[in-house]
Symmetry: C2
Subunit: 398 residues, 2 copies
């Protein structure tokens, strides 16, 4: 029943080492890391003959029947994963960017070469959200998936809202603790959440969406004014990704900061934790919560994929293959809080209606309805303006 797994590991960073540790704690599993591909030669705790410096050595090694890809470079990861699949090897990957950007091809390759690619660790770290969307929520009932998908930005927001720190100080703390990269943009500008959301969308509604086509905006422009505003009104700001069924066969998705009230499940998701709310007909809301970052939690998700490979598990992409097609269309409207200084920035936003507005010596804000399509059209400029945007209340199905 169970397959003997001889693993070729690409990457030996935080997650790779986490996996190595976690595997040591799982003696019952018949899986062994036989070779590790790394970029640079240096002194390491493991014997040097465990290491190689070209991924092709793993891919072409007949003694290896599973490639685990845990490197950060998405381009390199793409090469490793696709070559391995083409070479008839099963693969486990945690590279959200690479997966989100190449999902259609990766699905095709799995089919063509009759191999399995699992990537639970690519979304929400240790929380088994992909597997549950694929296997348990595999019916017509699903309405939406909403969640805090990025541990680094959530850590920063927690420090801001629970410890009364500023953005810059909180970011530095996150970096010092290894929760955020030296270039934090991938996390704080919502790219990481975006890629995860694209992956979750494929397993929620079967739709393969190009990340470039999705509205996403992060927290790097948050100001003390925004923080004060949120606190005064009893909100926390969270960076939230959401995919939601609309009327007919349409879905909408976006990653945006959100003003969250105490009565929401995600209000209490703090620090490096992730939390996902799955909403559906009949069961209403379900909530899954766990560590979204860190070598060991992510390593444990990789481990679950490895054991699943041992049991010949494959994603069937059930929503895509067995259900009616959902089209991605940014047709909805949302209500946003827009903090701005200059009129020329404000002029970029085509508000449908305004419910509140404020002008002051420090800056101004407006709260009003805007179409997602119009926001998407100016996506590339959003980060450059001296503004901050947060969803206050979604008007469709929320």
């Amino acid at each position: 029943m169970k397959k003997k797994l001889r693993i070729g590991l690409a990457g030996f960073g935080v997650v790779g080492q986490g996996l190595f540790d976690v595997l040591q704690k799982s003696p019952a599993l018949d899986a062994k890391i036989v070779k590790i591909c790394v970029k640079n030669k240096k002194e390491r705790a493991l014997p040097s003959d465990m290491f190689c410096y070209s991924a092709n050595e793993l891919i072409n090694d007949e003694n290896i029947n599973l490639i685990v890809e845990l490197i950060s470079d998405a381009y390199e990861a793409y090469h490793i994963v696709t070559s391995a699949l083409r070479n008839g090897k099963n693969v486990v990957s945690a590279n959200k960017k690479m997966i989100a950007e190449n999902l259609a091809e990766l699905i095709e390759l799995q089919k063509k070469y009759n191999v399995s690619l699992l990537y639970e660790a690519s979304a929400c770290g240790s929380i088994p959200v992909i597997r549950n969307l694929e296997e348990y929520y595999d019916n017509d009932l699903l309405l939406s998936v909403t969640g805090i998908l990025n541990g680094s930005s959530n850590y920063i927001l927690s420090k801001i809202f629970d410890c009364n720190k500023g953005y810059a100080e909180s970011l530095k703390e996150a970096q010092d603790l290894g929760f955020a990269e030296a270039d934090p943009s991938f996390d704080v500008d919502g790219f990481d959440s975006l890629f995860k959301l694209v992956i979750l969308t494929a397993h929620s509604f079967g739709t393969i969406v190009n990340p470039d086509d999705v509205l996403h905006y992060g927290i790097s422009n948050i100001s003390d004014f925004d923080i004060r505003y949120a606190k005064e009104k009893g909100y926390k700001i969270k960076l939230v990704g959401q995919v939601e069924k609309q009327e007919e066969n349409k879905i909408s998705l976006f990653v945006l900061p959100r003003l969250v009230k105490k009565d929401k499940y995600i209000y209490n998701v703090e620090d490096e934790f992730n939390g996902v709310v799955i909403k559906g007909l009949a069961y209403d809301k379900q909530f899954m919560f766990g560590k979204g970052a860190g070598g060991h939690p992510t390593g444990s998700a990789v481990l679950s994929d490895i054991t699943a490979i041992g049991h010949d598990y494959k994603y069937e992409y059930k929503k895509k293959n067995y259900y009616k097609e959902f089209l991605y269309e940014q047709s909805g409207e949302i209500e946003i809080y827009l903090r701005y200084k200059k009129q020329e920035d404000l002029a970029q936003f085509k508000f449908i209606s305004i419910s509140e507005e404020y002008s002051g010596p420090e800056c101004n804000y407006k709260i009003g309805l805007i179409s997602i399509k119009d926001l998407l059209a100016i996506k590339s400029r959003l980060r450059e303006m001296d503004i901050f945007i947060a969803v206050t209340r979604k008007t469709l199905n929320y």
Copy 2:
């Protein structure tokens, strides 16, 4: 890939009708209820030729390839489920008592007749906890599973702690709303939680435990004094089931009221909701939360089992089959709060040590360490004494 399912449904109560509704909302699923077995003839909304009055009619109907058993009588359910399995039919059941009491035989029958029995709805309603324990937490990392497993008693405790009502009033409210049976003992005395815990234990650690051998005690003896005590100290009382790995290859399990502080995940699980904390090496704690009772939430879990049957899914009982054996042994010690009036009741409890004690005009309490084995020995008498017990702090691995 997907099998056409023609369902014979046994039972048309709250969950059966919930399933019927939920199936209507799932047009993409190729599953149809072709016949429903009920106890009594009466006027119903569906055509009368949909109904039959003997389960054998379902079991022997060659047109039916899946039996869904949703009746409350465990003895009758046992007959239906085992006969159906023997007759080569796959089965979905939600009968926790029947499953917990016959698990070893049910596993054997599945193997012998090469059929699948799924029962996600038997534990925690809509939360996919069995499936996750089986498929995702299928490694050596798991340390414990702890949860609020019974929606009815949790509803009652929520009314007591959040709405300042008494036990009797809260119970009546739960009964009026259909959350508790006319004879509420199954829920409030911990039987329901016990059966669910036994099922979760099989999928967590692979150990088949006889429910009779497990310590369980509910909330029916809770008094205003206990409630006041808990509130003064900043606790809520929750009815909690827990299975936990001990040193070597041993597990301990029990269902007991627990004094829960605000920092625990289960503190905020209110009303008819269930919440399960899964603790393990590497990923630390994960939390799953959702509706634990009601026709539609439970119906949605049954639906997930039905679609899984359509994809030829079977529980592999991975922990039992692929991992080292865990022995059930009530060897641990716990710290309990014991409220009592009479010395003769107190004399039944062999405290190892006492950390607090109080005597007053109304009643007395002691807080101290006691062995689980000693509590188990007087299990049958616990409910008859004028006492209340709650775990204050578990001393092993907690």
